[in-house]
């Protein structure tokens, strides 16, 4: 049972991918890209979900997927034109399908009314001439028309009556050969059945899989499957999309014929099926030889059989098949797999093979497969270990340095090489975990549709940079802030269609979601072309709520950023979407906890842009190691513009305590890190130390004064929050070569700590339980 559960988990993982493919395909269709490939991909996604769901008996999901698939099949064969309206309907259907998947997974409930209405709508689209199907008919479960005990005739009849537009699954009467004599023999010998399966190429084209059928059969009782590969032509004559193989299965089961037949419910008509009671032998000589265990004879016989072979035969995905069969077959005759192996390279070109082949990877790793699934915990463990390796290597280098060994010595050179190797290993390991932000982005179109319909606005989502890669640790935490920013952009940013028309804009607002790499960080931008921030209102609300003092003069930028203050909410009325008081302050804090920053720029009448910047990884960082008041600190290299030793004439006092540094005609405030962090009470003259010219996220510059620079190093980021909490001015911690903990400076926080004056709106201070 555990095994089944494991397969089910995999199925749901695949469902997620398939749903994403589905939505991606539909969105491509919406953009006018409705070529055959796209439509086929969309169809296959739904079909694969249905197929898998059927295997697990997830009735409601199968039922809905079936209706959906039927319509898609009609679209695929150009019976139903893919109009923009239809694509919108299909998109909504994909949302309902996603709900069904979640529900089958035990995460949430499907709104039956919505689902039934959607199904009815799909039915109506499939057959525009028919009157809109009454809900009752839609509800009539297409798949329950195949009850376990129903005789074959009844099954076919019921199907004809109920499901006349079922294009995906043509239930056709089939030939059943029942050898009376053989049955008698079998009755004496126990319940032995011989099932002969000869798939047609259509079976593979519909993304079905013989291995799954065999697995299903195995559930009825012990099976012995034999593959007749004799019909496979030589490689140069092989048609990659044709079907050549025949399986003969000896099944021992208490179940009756109907139960066996039920296994083939999904492939009915797509394969020649013979179910015989008893140890029936097919007349095929090669097969007989195989069954007798005379494999070489069968292989020898093969060419002859090819010539005679009347039916089109196997093998769309030759490679996965033997692999999948392996766990099922009790005693797989070794030579059987052999003739198939050469066909493997050809299989890659068969498009229909892809989903099926994918299904194989999880079960049993097969030859020639290019993707492996790895438990993320193993990778995390590897990354931890590499982190320790980096620390250890640094420690070694430091010790060697202490002994005063010449840099040209063999030992020092060996150490250099070790450092390079360590770095390469680390980069490679990190690359394993890097993922495109696509996985987060693709959830957003649905969100936008839902929020737009909830708020009565028209919104179009434009996405850019989906393939921007970022570490998995960061990906996981992107979803919440992006969701929040998008909701905010539609709910608060965009105007209603009427307002937009009045302002001379397109009634459909555009929300843009973009990801890009910028100076060693990932930047996510969410922008809208709405009305922009109403600064007067924001200002007055902030004063009314006592968040700022009325006398305070604020710049436009400062007013815009007031929306990040805790307890600030500008919605005129509390809406379901984003007006619950958990506003942008929560987003800001969760982003800060990741070492990220968020800011907003706005132009009245033209829209607003949220900019979210996060480190590419939460695992390593290039930093400058400095000494401040006896403490060792690491300053992120990405923030450092240059480091210099200031000359006395470059340091100018400004005001009672402050001083600035003259850097090539511009003046930059000098900040003593030791003083700001509270390491010391008075700062020594800046000319005695070293100055790091840094640039904050918002482009503002500052000159940080440290006592000494130790050099540049890659450090492993260790969380302070894991065992303690966030500390103002500190981004994280790391472990140095000597085994001691050093703190990583949060440059922006240090700049703003310094800037902060009492009347200013302050960040939420750390809650110290005193």
């Amino acid at each position: 049972m555990d095994e089944l559960e494991a397969i089910k988990v995999t199925f749901f993982q695949e469902c997620e991918e398939l749903l994403a493919d589905l939505e991606g395909g539909l969105l491509a269709m919406q953009d006018g890209n409705d070529d055959g490939d796209t439509v086929n991909a969309v169809f296959r996604a739904v079909h694969s979900i249905k197929g898998g769901a059927g295997a697990f008996g997830l009735e409601p999901l199968v039922r809905f997927a079936h209706v959906f698939e039927t319509l898609l099949d009609a679209v695929r064969s150009n019976e139903v034109p893919a109009t923009p309206d239809l694509v919108v309907t299909l998109l909504r259907a994909s949302d309902v399908l996603a709900d069904h998947v979640s529900s089958a997974r035990g995460l949430g409930v499907v709104d039956e009314a919505v689902s039934a209405a959607m199904a009815a709508e799909l039915k109506a689209c499939t057959d525009p001439n028919a009157a809109p199907a009454p809900a009752a008919v839609v509800e009539a479960p297409v798949f329950e028309a195949a009850p376990v005990a129903a005789p074959a005739e009844a099954l076919i009849g019921a199907d004809d009556a109920l499901d006349d537009d079922d294009l995906g699954f043509d239930f056709q009467p089939m030939t059943i050969t029942i050898d009376e004599q053989a049955a008698d023999v079998a009755a004496a010998a126990g319940n032995v059945w011989t099932v002969s399966i000869r798939p047609k190429s259509d079976l593979y084209r519909k993304a079905n899989e013989t291995a799954l059928l065999l697995r299903e059969l195995a559930r009825l009782g012990p099976i012995e499957a034999t593959l007749d590969a004799s019909a496979i032509p030589p490689l140069d004559m092989l048609d990659a999309e044709a079907a050549y193989a025949t399986w003969t299965v000896r099944l021992e089961t208490e179940e009756d014929e109907t139960a066996i037949r039920e296994v083939f419910e999904f492939v009915d008509g797509d394969c020649d099926l013979e179910i015989t009671r008893g140890e029936g032998l097919t007349p095929d000589a090669a097969l007989a030889a195989l069954l007798a265990g005379d494999a070489p004879a069968a292989v020898e016989a093969a060419p002859a059989v090819v010539a005679e072979a009347p039916a089109p035969v196997v093998v769309v995905e030759a490679a996965p098949e033997p692999v999948a069969v392996a766990p099922v077959v009790e005693a797989a005759p070794a030579p059987v797999a052999a003739p198939i192996a050469p066909a493997a390279p050809v299989a890659a070109s068969a498009p229909a093979a892809a989903p099926a082949a994918k299904a194989q990877q999880i079960d049993v790793p097969g030859p020639g497969q290019s993707v492996i699934r790895v438990d993320p915990e193993r990778i995390d463990r590897l990354i931890d270990l590499v982190g320790e390796l980096v620390i250890n290597q640094a420690m070694l280098a430091q010790r060697v340095g202490e002994y005063g060994i010449a840099p040209s010595s063999n030992l020092a050179m060996g150490l250099d090489e070790l450092e390079q190797l360590t770095r390469e290993i680390q980069d490679s390991v990190m690359a394993i975990r890097a993922q495109p932000v696509k996985s987060v982005f693709q959830r957003m179109p649905r969100l936008v549709r839902e929020v737009a319909s909830m708020t009565g606005k028209q919104a179009r989502l434009v996405m850019d940079g989906e393939n921007t890669e970022v570490d998995k640790t960061v990906i996981e935490r992107l979803s919440d802030p992006i969701t929040h920013m998008l909701r905010n952009a539609i709910d608060h940013g965009l105007e209603s269609p009427e307002e937009r028309k009045a302002a001379g804009k397109n009634p459909e607002g555009v929300v843009k979601l973009a990801a890009l790499h910028r100076s060693g960080r990932i930047v996510i931008e969410v922008s809208d072309d709405g009305k922009g921030i109403n600064r007067e209102r924001v200002h007055s609300i902030a004063i009314k709520k006592g968040l700022i003092s009325p006398e305070l003069q604020l710049t436009d930028e400062e007013i815009d950023n007031l929306i990040f203050l805790p307890g600030f909410s500008t919605a005129d009325k509390i809406s379901d979407v984003s007006g619950r008081g958990v506003g942008m302050d929560v987003v800001k804090r969760s982003v800060q906890a990741l070492g990220g920053r968020i800011s907003i720029t706005s132009r009245p009448g033209q829209g607003s842009t949220f900019t979210l910047s996060l480190p590419l990884t939460l695992a390593v960082l290039d930093g400058m190691v400095v000494d401040v008041a006896g403490e060792t600190l690491v300053v992120p290299l990405a923030a450092i513009v240059e480091s210099l030793r200031p000359k006395p004439e470059e340091v100018r006092p400004l005001g009672p305590v402050g001083s600035v540094l003259a850097v090539r005609d511009s003046f930059v405030p000098l900040i003593d890190v030791g003083l700001t962090l509270g390491y010391r009470e008075a700062s020594p003259p800046p000319t005695e130390g070293v100055v790091l010219l840094v640039e904050g996220e918002d482009g503002s510059r500052a000159a940080l004064v440290a006592d000494a620079i130790h050099g540049q190093r890659q450090v492993v980021i260790k969380s302070l929050e894991q065992n303690y909490q966030q500390v103002d001015g500190v981004a994280a911690a790391t472990i140095l070569g000597d085994g001691r903990v050093a703190l990583i400076l949060d440059v922006d926080a240090v700049i703003s700590l310094r800037r902060r004056e009492p009347p200013r709106p302050v960040e939420p201070t750390l809650i110290a339980a005193e």
Partner: protein, 155 residues
């Protein structure tokens, strides 16, 4: 040590007792991960005075808390005999700097008396109860209150 204590049916627990100044405290042994000798910690800026800083515990950053200071007593410079007890409090690990570890007690809950109503807030909120054994007074520390609350980060 503790063998002479007679069980009265209630479940037995084991506690580790230690000295802070001239007072004795204890924590549940199940919360204790290890006991280590003192090593200098990296100071944390903007932190309450009782936070000694952080140290490297096999690759993890471990905050060290001066227990005497946390309980409102004057901070004592650590000596070579000082140790820190690594305990798990909720999902966090912290090190408590104490003067010395005394012994392991095995007690039942009925031996724990409620904390007397003393003036000090810190004592009232951090002490779970008081255990009296052989004329010694040992206060049991409530670990979940020791560390400052983390900021709620729920989005």
């Amino acid at each position: 040590m503790s063998e002479e204590i007679i069980t009265t049916g209630a479940e037995r627990r084991e506690l580790i007792s230690f000295r802070v100044g001239d007072q004795e405290y204890c924590v549940d042994i199940m919360a204790v991960r290890e006991i280590r000798g003192w090593s200098p910690a990296t100071t944390l800026p903007q932190s309450p005075g009782y936070m000694r800083g952080v140290i490297n515990l096999r690759g993890a950053v471990l905050p060290i808390m001066d227990l005497a200071c946390r309980l409102g007593m004057p901070m004592v410079e650590p000596t070579v005999r000082s140790v820190f007890i690594v305990v798990k409090a909720g999902d966090r690990m912290i090190g408590m700097l104490v003067d010395a570890v005394s012994d392991i007690l095995s007690i039942t809950d009925d031996l724990v008396q409620p904390t007397p109503d003393v003036a000090c807030d810190a004592v009232r909120s951090f002490i779970r109860g008081i255990i009296s054994i052989d004329g010694r007074m040992i206060s049991e520390i409530s670990l979940d209150r020791l560390l400052p609350e983390r900021e709620a980060l729920a989005a």
